[in-house]
Amino acid sequence: MKEKVKKVMSNIFQVPIKDITDDASPDTITGWDSLKHMNLVLALEEEFGVQFSDAQILELLNFQLILLTLKEVGVRE
């Protein structure tokens, strides 16, 4: 799951996959603004076949929180 998330983030933010570190957040990735956040959410939902609640969307604030929330909505490791 971790690698898949990184792959998606790398595509959406247009940065090499190695730049998506385990502590990746809008502070470490320049392209991660509120508009691109929408693209990320769309991509993650489609890639993992899940749907976040509106509250969860706003909580996907960094890489670790994304992993956590994906687990919450039923994605396995």
Partner: protein, 590 residues
Amino acid sequence: MATLSYSEVQEFVNNSHLEQYPKLNISILRNIVVETIEPYWRYFAIKMGFNAQVKFGEYDNVFQEAVGGMGNVLNKDTDVVMVFLKMDTISYDLANNYTALSVEQVHLEVKRIKEYIAAVLAGIRRQTDAFLLWHCFDLPTYPAYGIWDSQTSDGQLETLRELNRFLLSIIGSHTNTYCVDLNLCIARIGANNFFDPRYWHIGRAPFASAALYEIASENFKFIRARKGKNKKCIVLDCDNILWGGIVGEDGFAGVKLGKTYPGSAYCEFQQEVLNLYHRGVIIAICSKNNEDDVMEIFRNHPDMVLKEKHITNFKVNWQDKATNIRQIAKDLNIGLDSMVFFDDSEFEANLVREIVPEVEVIHMPPQKAVEYRNMLASCGFFDTLTITAEDKKRGLMYKAEVARKDLQKQSIDIQSYYKSLEMKLEICYADTFSIPRIAQLTQKTNQFNLTSVRYSESDINRLADSDDSDVMYVKLEDRFGDYGIVGVAILKHFADFFEIDTFLLSCRVTGRGVEDAFLVECMKLSGKRNKRAVRGRYIKSKKNQQVADFYKAHGFEVLEVKSDDTLYQFDLSKPYPDCPWYFKDNNVRL
């Protein structure tokens, strides 16, 4: 065809070498957030051979940008303008508070919005002539008055429809301007899949990801047609495409084709093909079969919707399909990139994809025969911005072309063959009836086109009206039929010479002297207006190699060479080249 995920679409865009493609500058005026659609636009653009650069106007700043010209969203480089106006933002009352309004208040609000639309459209047009796609208002799924709403002309639905009708009518009075019917997009995937309330509330972004794909795909049907990249010819396999089963095994009476299941699915698909035929799409058959078996079905099966007369070219043999498709392109004198091939066999589909990648291939698995019709109807490859009288006759004209080729085989020398065709030309200035076709020809003629300049209808109108230019067309008729308008020339006037800005001919009629006769008339006209010379350019493109020496072959001399752009001149004190002798009774009105 939505096989790539959103992330993969973005990856495809990231990994494409965009420098090789011409730019397509898209400017967006909107009162909603639509940024998430950008990867899809860029994806479809790349698929068509363009590098889309998208410029978003500020959120809810449409009026200022259109009428006030603020923000430089629209400029001279803009190729496409798209407008997204959501009723919720333009009028909270009409969208959300409808039941509280009196009839008079609704009326006033409608009037205000109409004026707003007219002002925005006029404002855009003051700034740019670019191709304009205006998305109509989406209709509510749960209208304000519930079930009563559909019964009354005072309902919210009817009010929004009235605004959409107004939009259509005002758009109809502008050229190069089209309405994208969002409600069709919604109907295809369902409103619940189209709108995403989460991001509507979080960020005023109404569209779900399925909607983004659907809208972008619809947008590019327009752009494909505008750029002349739409397809012209359907190539069909037979077994399990036009009928169920295999005629060579199941026999004439054994194939599935008829009014009831499962044959009804194939009839329905054939009807859709026939509908495209009547829109001007050429139909060819490419099937591995015994020709007699296939022809017997075409001629005698009572449930065939497609008849022999609709098919311009039958390639029924045991050769590989790539060779057959190449031959069809050659016979019909069309580009491989204007063909779409349908086959149920994955092997054949992949073979054609591999060997002739220019051809668009659609694989139709026979277990999904009931979906064939929609697979064809949804592809959008054949969409055109208008349907002209010529389009409607095209099938017949190509059929005649095949008959001509047969006659050609019998004729010994080519000139007597041309004479036997009894060709007759009509050469005239552009008029209201011919302008749509003239614009269409400038947009889609690639091979016999000296400069490949693309013009919209409004451009042609302006050039035709101007005292500094002439727009002329040539029509061709022969004993097999009427081709309609087949060529266009645009002459620009200078002090002592005319310059041929555009000279093109439909590839259906090249190589039989029409181009010679037409050029001679352009020269005569220049002489008649007391000009000293005629100039013409050859601007090299990927596809117009065949006309590289056109001017030279007609006695023009090279004046200037700039990389891919060569300027020629013909001194009118010299005698004109001859119009080919085998044209008779040409009707020239210049």
